[in-house]
């Protein structure tokens, strides 16, 4: 495994994702953010060109379970309990290599004690936590997240942002996170990649120079406001 993993997608989009890093993808709707994630995950095949993920084809990376995917909706199976939903990857496609147990992962996302609950008994935020635990099963090298908190209220969203940073530090996984919220992109990412629309292309990659670990109070600082302002100006010229 190389230190850096090269990812090429969307014809002329090419970027590097540091191993163990947290990169957020910010862009207006229709700029191909979700498409980019789906190409990396081998859900969509590129019309032209080639996708290389972790030095191999996207297809091979998917088959080795190198990639975990968190969708906009939790996409839980309603007839399975929280724990059985996290277990799903064990029962499909030859199972997983190793990593934390489903019970461990549920505790990691703060749902210890909710193992036997069905999705309709959980709140939207809790359902999304279950889906994050499911994506982490088998220790994927890259976690792809497609606006996972977009449908949640702001309070829940803030809390889940903090918990995601905690999960990221705890697991050391590499995260590629799509959002259309400037604040979320700046708060979560070590770098923010701004995409421009039609055709989807990389506009600019902005390094985030906020101290680690991030806290919600940081959002009230002048540094954070300056960063958010800079991202907004880039987006306006997209």
């Amino acid at each position: 495994m190389s230190e850096r993993a090269a990812v090429t997608a969307l014809d002329n989009v090419s970027f590097e994702l540091e191993q163990g890093g947290f990169l957020t993808l910010l862009g207006p709707s229709g700029c191909g953010k979700s498409t980019l994630l789906r190409v990396v995950a081998d859900i969509i095949a590129p019309a032209q060109g080639e996708v290389r993920v972790l030095g191999q084809s996207a297809d091979a990376a998917r088959r080795q379970r190198d990639i975990g995917f968190v969708f906009q909706d939790a996409t839980l199976l309603p007839w399975r309990t929280a724990l059985d939903n996290v277990r799903l990857p064990l029962e499909i496609g030859g199972g997983v290599r190793s990593g934390r147990s489903p019970e461990d992962l549920l505790r990691l996302v703060g749902l210890g004690g909710w193992e036997k609950s069905f999705p309709h008994e959980l709140s939207g935020g809790m359902r999304q936590r279950v889906s994050i635990a499911r994506a982490l099963l088998g220790d994927p090298k890259i976690l792809l997240m497609d606006e996972p908190f977009g449908a949640l209220d702001e309070i829940t969203r803030d809390r889940l942002n903090d918990e995601l940073l905690h999960i990221w530090r705890e697991t050391g996984t590499t995260i590629l996170f799509v959002t259309h919220s400037i604040h979320e992109a700046a708060y979560l990412g070590q770098s923010v990649m701004v995409l421009a629309a039609r055709p989807g292309r990389v506009r600019e990659i902005v390094k985030v120079d906020l101290p680690e670990p991030r806290t919600l109070a940081m959002r009230d600082t002048a540094d954070f406001a300056a960063l958010a302002g800079r991202l907004r100006r880039i987006l306006e010229t997209c």
Partner: protein
């Protein structure tokens, strides 16, 4: 809990409501029986036109053996038809979902045939299949087949695009997508079709017996009508209905055992 007076009042109101829900339908049924009795007595309706309710009750008791003997073939036809028709429908629905070309060619026709009323379809099948037990089973089967096929295809296809993407990310095989996603998704759809099929299977068997049959609920209905034996006719209809309702309730009980999640409330 009931320390709170407001809570106690609310609970008492709930208990009264529960009793009302149980008692009122019973009172309604009794009132209608009374009205039936009063109308027959007041207008002195001839027994060959309509029987009084107590005469029907007596007939049910006295001719229980005849009624039961005729229920057996009808029940066998309905149950066999139900099993065969639904099994074939589920198999073809599975084929449709995996072979889109076949589905596109035949599914619209299936939907069209499904919209033809049962009583209109049955005589066509009687002409095609003739007399005996087997044709009645075939009629019940064909009648069950269409609603189940239509619902099952819809159920198997009612999976969200994201759930399919999830399966793809997990490198699921076609069989795994079917077993872990499509089949469980389709179960509530299947049961709503089975509940329809439970009553239409009985209708199919009875309509099949109307034309050229010596035994069965359908044959007894025709016989009683031609003999102007209205009490026997009513008793026969009640026997058939009780079986049909029992069949429906059995399927509904199975549904409650199988579907424990809240369908439709996904994600």
């Amino acid at each position: 809990m009931s320390d709170d007076p407001a809570q106690a009042i609310w609970q008492a109101a709930q208990a009264r409501l529960r009793w009302k829900r149980r008692l009122l339908p019973l009172i309604g049924a009794l009132a209608l029986l009374l009205l039936w009795w009063a109308l027959v007595a007041f207008f002195q309706v001839k027994p060959f036109i309509a029987p009084a309710p107590q005469v029907v009750a007596i007939t049910l008791w006295q001719k229980a053996d005849i009624l039961f003997a005729n229920l057996i073939p009808t029940a066998i036809e309905a149950l066999s038809g139900f099993l065969i028709g639904n099994a074939v429908a589920i198999a073809i629905a599975t084929l449709f979902v995996h072979r889109k070309t076949i589905e596109m060619a035949f599914f619209p026709i299936v939907v069209l045939i499904n919209s033809i009323p049962v009583v209109a379809k049955a005589p066509i099948l009687v002409l095609l299949l003739g007399n005996g037990l087997a044709p009645k089973i075939a009629i019940a089967a064909v009648i069950c087949f269409f609603p189940t096929l239509v619902n099952m295809v819809r159920g198997l296809e009612a999976v969200s695009p994201q759930a399919l993407e999830l399966m793809h990310v997990l490198s699921a095989s076609k069989w795994e997508v079917f077993r872990r996603l499509r089949l469980p998704t389709s179960i509530p759809y299947l049961f709503s079709a089975l509940k329809i099929a439970a009553s239409t299977a009985v209708v199919g068997a009875i309509v099949g017996e109307w034309i050229g049959s010596q035994e069965g609920i359908g044959a007894l209905i025709i016989q009683a009508t031609y003999n102007f034996d209205s009490a026997l006719l009513y008793a026969t209809v009640i026997t058939g209905s009780v079986f049909s309702v029992g069949f429906f309730l059995t399927i509904r009980m199975l549904e409650r055992l199988c579907v424990r999640w809240v369908p439709g409330q996904q994600s």
